[in-house]
Amino acid sequence: MITPSGLAETLLWGVANGCIYILLAAGLSIIFGVMKLVNFAHGQLLMIGAYLAFTASVVLGLNAYLSILVAMGGVALIGLGVERFTFRKVLGTDKLNEIFVSLGLIYIFENAAVLLWGNKSAQIASPLHGLLSLGGISISYDRIAAMGIVIVILLSIIFLMKKTKIGLAMRATSQKSDATQLMGINIEKVYIFTFALGAALAGAAGALYGIIFPFSPALGALPTIKAFAIIILGGLGSIPGAVVGGLLYGIAENTAGYVLGGIWPDAIAFVLLIVVLVIKPTGIFGGKGD
């Protein structure tokens, strides 16, 4: 039965899910915008983030929400290594080389996760329990926390991009990489910082995912596709685009589950992707590089 309050609740939970996807998509979009690099292994960074937070909270006993910082730091470090030792070698050569490298990374990350954490389902135990109910609509405290955390992270990113020297250099690089070098900016440093930042966002998304949902080493594949759907929906390389795209996506996914049920929530990514590519291939926010 579809009821107004049921629908309202569905929208709200959709927004909460959307917040996690926003982080993942923003990371993918920053990396694409600055480096023009398409990293198909981005969802695997989310998966590794979930496991790092899992290890920090379950094995080391850290508060689940503090373990988000561990996931961000850990995945950022992995990002540094991945950029330095794999993508930097092929950046600016054939796009196919970059695609093959990222496909290779998918297998490396998934197998490493099976090796380290086993193949069964895991979930991060949250210190928050239960639901907040307001006027017939309820939502879990974990999802409220997730929304708050995503807002804080996004505001930090905006501050970084607008008010710091490295943010200025990242925006310049996304617009013109040769001219940026002529400003005396070491573009390799910009690239490695950008990749680590994008990876850290995926790590944070992974930790939040793992607090809300159970996961396994195969977690990465679907979120990658969802993140691509979101940045194509919002406009490649645009952070506001990732935010709007992520919210729309989260709502669409949850509503599809509520109204249509079955496998529709996951299929909605593909449906949206195809619809956007047909109607407005440049996304809602068109253009790039802001």
Binding site: L182, G184, G289
Partner: protein, 234 residues
């Protein structure tokens, strides 16, 4: 100050520059002139490290720079205004200037330089919060000149600054270049616009098909038969 010796450069398998040698002394304005496709842009890109030198050496103040990355070359005191200006279109005038000062650590120095430039170009001050893409062609040219001065360079390279500008603005740009030079900045001016550039330069080199075919004082070049016939249509 800058000494280029036997420089060669290629795009992939196609060699563009052949054994190019020239020099610039401190406080000079030197012009490199040549027709479209001669390799002028390739030459300055190679000097700035945006393209690898295949052979030859580039010395700046006695130090070899041909193997340095672009950002290190900028830190040594060379800046370049690339062909087509290359503003950062989606950033404000102010942010474009900040990028020009990226290598400078001293914040008060950055502010002083900026205020000085705003005084000379009040229109930029008025539009400091406008996106660079919304400026006119002439204003954009002024913006990139100011941007290049934000790092207090010793050598400024300009690649076809007059391209696509109205004659009256070209005159203003050339005036500005002369003034910058009087302030102690050495200038390498790359141009197709031979008469104008030789009018402001002390010396010139003529580049054709990737080779230096002529060099001399500006006055000599302007009265050279080859130049008169091929470039000035006399």
């Amino acid at each position: 100050m800058l000494e280029v010796k036997n420089l060669s450069a290629s795009y992939g398998m196609v060699q563009i520059l052949w054994d190019v040698s020239f020099n610039i002394k401190e406080k000079e304005i030197v012009s490199i002139i040549g027709p479209n496709g001669a390799g002028k842009t390739t030459l300055v890109k190679t000097i700035m490290g945006l393209l690898p030198a295949k052979n030859g050496t580039i010395q700046f103040k006695g130090e070899n720079i041909e193997k340095l990355p672009t950002h290190e070359i900028v830190k040594k005191g060379i800046t370049m205004i690339p062909e087509g200006r290359e503003i950062f279109p989606k950033m404000t005038v102010e942010e474009n200037l900040q990028l020009g000062a990226y290598t400078i650590k001293d914040k008060t120095k950055i502010k002083d330089t900026k205020e000085k430039l705003y005084q000379i170009f009040p229109v930029l001050k008025k539009k400091q919060n406008a996106l660079a893409q919304n400026l006119s062609g002439g204003e954009q040219q002024m913006l990139v000149i100011c941007r290049s001065l934000m790092s207090n360079p010793q050598l400024l390279i300009l690649d076809e600054p007059s391209l696509g500008l109205a004659p009256i603005i070209v005159e203003k740009v050339l005036d500005t270049i002369t003034k910058i030079n009087e302030d102690g900045v050495t200038i390498l001016l790359v141009e197709q616009n031979i008469r104008d550039s030789l009018n402001v330069a002390n010396r010139g080199y003529v580049l054709e098909k990737g080779k230096i075919i002529l060099e001399g004082e500006s006055r000599e070049l302007l009265s050279n038969d080859h130049i008169k016939e091929v470039y000035l249509g006399l």
